[in-house]
């Protein structure tokens, strides 16, 4: 009855030309939480799988929606800026994979640790970076999260160790962070991400060995987006069951397009690690809409139809939106409001990123060392001596 009443009001408001949504719909209208059925994970060396009936609250849903939408719009903006040559060098975009970053963060705490490879903008955001400082780093300005010194692949924030350019190198680093957690006895854990391409790297298997041997609180997560650069998984891996590749390490294969699936699996893995049982491996089956990087159109090794199909059937943001709407957890307008607000945030950030000045030349040689005396650095010729401050 209330719903009918408020619908009438809404229609009236529109007829009167009022732009603002005169919402008589109160929180009482929306379902505060609902239970969802999610896909069951495939398990390896485990007795049980993560729950398939999960609860999501309205607040959680709105938060996930907002964060995923922010990442999506941020990446699309970066695409635009790159084509305008305002961003240069490498730019590896994350659109399509938002559910992974958001779901993982929902399953851990900000006090836990995370490291990933170069497709890192989304994680920089979920780990606490602002859109403004991320975009300014992409455009190489002094307001960037790394003061313009790092660029797309080298963004850092608290408990987030980048952003790493060398394929696979981040995985041993992540296990090292886990070692530090264990050493310090702080009940924190370390999440190390890598792609299907990196999954064949030797150093990753070396890391599996030591992590299992020493029971490090490490979660290894393979974001399988089906293509390592231009090479499909079938053409690069003798075994594409990435969740089993840890052999003696228990593994989960997870639907990476469903934020709730990712969240549940991450919680499951986190519990396992925190209980001292050692590492766990997760494979998130996901997809990237863009090519490997901005210099890859992404259609020479896969068809446009495939991309369209994933967009149409499995887009993570659409999935969440449909869930929330059909369960009366939010209204179309509310979500639109979020979209508008996100768009504005991105526009402001892009504005900042294009107008903020580049780092001053005096900064060129700074930060070679940490907590060190000032030193002199040779310039390009013997008569140029530059100063380095740590």
């Amino acid at each position: 009855m209330l719903t009918n009443f408020s619908n009438v009001l809404r229609v009236c408001a529109q007829r009167n030309g009022a732009a603002a949504v005169v919402s008589a719909r109160t929180y009482a209208d929306f379902t505060t939480q609902a239970t969802f059925e999610i896909k069951k994970c495939d398990i390896h060396k485990l007795d049980e799988a993560p729950a398939t009936q999960v609860v999501m609250t309205r607040d959680e849903g709105l938060k996930y929606y907002r964060v995923m939408q922010t990442i999506r719009r941020m990446e699309l903006k970066a695409d635009q800026l790159y084509k305008q040559k305002i961003i240069r060098g490498f730019c590896h975009l994350y659109d399509g994979q938002e559910a992974c970053a958001v779901g993982i963060e929902a399953g851990i705490n900000l006090t836990d640790h995370l490291i990933t490879a170069y497709r890192a903008h989304g994680y920089t955001y979920t780990r606490g970076g602002t859109v403004k400082e991320i975009m300014a780093e992409l455009t190489g300005r002094r307001g960037g999260i790394a003061k313009g010194k790092g660029g797309s692949m080298h963004m850092y924030t608290k408990n987030f160790y980048g952003g790493n350019g060398i394929v696979g190198a981040q995985v041993p680093l992540g296990a090292g962070v886990a070692l530090a957690c264990q050493y310090q006895g702080n009940n924190e854990l370390s999440v190390s991400l890598y792609g299907d391409g990196a999954a064949n790297q030797g150093q990753i298997f070396e890391t599996y060995n030591m992590a299992a041997l020493w029971k490090l609180p490490a979660i290894f997560i393979c974001e399988n987006n089906r293509y390592g650069m231009g090479t499909s998984v079938e053409r690069s891996a003798a075994s594409t069951d990435y969740y089993k590749r840890g052999d003696y390490i228990p593994g989960l294969r997870v639907d990476g397009m469903d934020v709730l699936c990712v969240r549940e699996a991450t919680k499951f893995a986190a519990d396992h690690c925190r209980s001292g049982k050692g590492p766990m491996l997760m494979e998130l089956q996901t997809y990237r809409y863009h090519g490997h990087s901005m210099s890859d159109p992404g259609v020479s090794y896969r068809t446009r139809e495939e991309i369209q199909e994933v967009r149409g059937k499995s887009d993570p943001i659409s999935l969440l939106k449909d869930r929330m709407l059909s369960n009366n957890m939010a209204s179309v307008e509310e979500l639109k409001e979020i979209d508008v607000s996100v768009r504005k945030e991105i526009e402001d950030a892009a504005q900042f990123a294009t107008t903020d000045p580049e780092p001053p030349l005096e900064e060129l040689c700074n930060h070679i060392f940490y907590n060190d005396a000032d030193l002199e650095v040779r310039g390009t010729n013997p008569w140029t001596t530059l100063k380095s401050v740590s």
Binding site: A175, N209, I368, L375, P382
Partner: protein, 432 residues
């Protein structure tokens, strides 16, 4: 005069060779394994520094404790006197053993051990990882006793997976610990070099100072004895090429202790290049070096021997060779100023320049290959600075031969700078 000098040189060289023949095949084992210490009972003992340095059996456990060392030293001195040989005594130069029981004597390996022990005790974030560092007491016994004292948490044996454990060490450093990552030799660090350079060295800069990496990479570097090409490479030039790293190369026990402590306390990645053949060499330790807070600053060279005619710049094991050469040349009236670099990066170019401006001649000595090496860099730096105008002759580099290290002893001996090479190079530079 010239004839006498060349006679001396030949005699000196022959003496070394004869000793080499004598001691070939003698196995030294540490007592405690049910056997008598062969070092004490063996008649064929090393007598001078150069000879000591060439012993392949030093890799098997030599005496560890100070009293044992003194006994061995005494035995070797007795043998030396008995042999009636009259070689140039370089022993006095380094205060080898003679008297003064008040000042302590310590082998390089023990100095390294003490440095790590003190730093492990001082800061609980410090830990050691590497192959055989814990239960085996260290492949070269450098970490002997540490696992017994500190346990599994702080002294960690790793599998033989350099890339993996180096990455783990770097990650641990990023997350707030202070690891000492040991490479059994720096040859194996090549497998992990991406982690050293791309993950450790560059991170502070890439993160604009947000992310520090307080780590020490240590282990034996350069040629050993009879280990052939894959196990004999010098990595000083490789690592010293890269900004973001500090590269240290100690010579004496005091160097080893002071520099390792500084390296561990440094908040930045330090590559610490030891030398296997120096591990068993004893040095006198000054009183201040026996303190738990004794550190030697990274980036400062030390003038080991004052001189006026030529500046000889060297590092690690070759400091000994240069001092030996200087002693021989002193008899001919040539006074060499020998500079022990101690740190390769950053290079203490001021000390080198001040010396060159005094002597007007420069010779660099190293074990590494000539091309793009430490000596090459020193020459370039001196050329670009004020000392160039003081040079009376082009600088000379004495280096390892530009070949992979051969195995056969005669070939190996001739692949590395020998004292006679250094002497000849100095003379040629001085045009005498």
């Amino acid at each position: 005069m010239v004839n006498f000098c060349s006679f001396l040189m030949n005699y000196f060289q022959g003496f070394i060779e004869s000793l080499s023949k004598e001691r070939r095949g003698s196995l030294i084992r540490c007592p405690g394994e049910g056997e008598e210490c062969q070092l004490r009972s063996s008649a064929s003992l090393p007598n001078c520094i150069s000879d000591w340095l060439k012993r392949p059996d030093l890799r098997i456990v030599p005496a560890f404790s100070l009293p044992e060392d003194r006994l061995n030293m005494a035995a070797s001195v007795r043998c030396f006197l008995r042999s009636g040989k009259n070689a140039v005594s370089t022993l006095g130069q380094r205060g080898f053993h003679k008297s003064a029981p008040a000042s302590a004597q310590m082998m390089v390996r023990d100095a390294l051990n003490q440095a790590m022990d003190e730093e492990l005790e001082r800061d609980e974030r410090v830990f050691l990882l590497g192959e055989e560092v814990a239960q085996y007491d260290g492949a070269y016994k450098v970490s002997r006793g540490l696992w017994k004292k500190y346990g599994d948490k702080r002294i960690i044996d790793t599998p033989i997976t350099e890339m993996g454990f180096t990455g783990i060490a770097v990650g641990a450093a990023m997350a707030g610990l202070r690891p000492i990552c040991e490479f059994m030799t720096f040859n194996f660090s090549m497998q992990a070099i991406d982690q050293v350079i791309n993950s450790a060295a560059k991170t502070c800069y890439m993160s604009a100072g947000r992310q520090s990496v307080p780590i020490v990479f240590r282990g034996p570097n350069g040629a050993s004895a009879g280990v052939a090409a894959q196990h004999s490479q010098c990595f000083a030039a490789w690592y010293a090429h890269c900004p973001g790293l500090k590269v240290v190369s100690p010579w004496s026990a005091e160097d080893a202790k002071g520099l390792l402590k500084s390296a561990i306390r440094d908040d930045n990645p330090v590559v610490f290049l030891e030398n296997e053949l120096m591990y068993g060499v004893p040095f006198e330790m000054s009183e201040e070096s026996q303190s738990k807070d004794f550190t030697i600053p990274i980036g400062k060279a030390k003038v080991e021997r004052q001189g006026t005619h030529v500046t000889v710049v060297t590092h690690s094991r070759y400091v000994s060779h240069c001092l030996d050469a200087a002693a021989v040349l002193a008899k001919e009236g040539i006074e060499c100023e020998v500079i022990n670099l101690r740190t390769i990066r950053p290079l203490d170019v001021e000390t080198i320049e001040a010396s060159v401006m005094k002597t007007s001649h420069l010779v660099t000595v190293e074990g590494g290959w000539p091309q793009f090496g430490v000596g090459a860099e020193i020459c370039a730096m001196v050329m670009e600075g004020p000392a160039f105008n003081f040079l009376d002759a082009p600088a000379t580099r004495v280096t390892g031969v530009d070949i992979p290290m051969p195995y056969a002893k005669i070939l190996e001996d001739n692949s590395l700078p020998q004292i006679k090479d250094i002497i000849a190079s100095i003379k040629k530079t001085l045009n005498v």
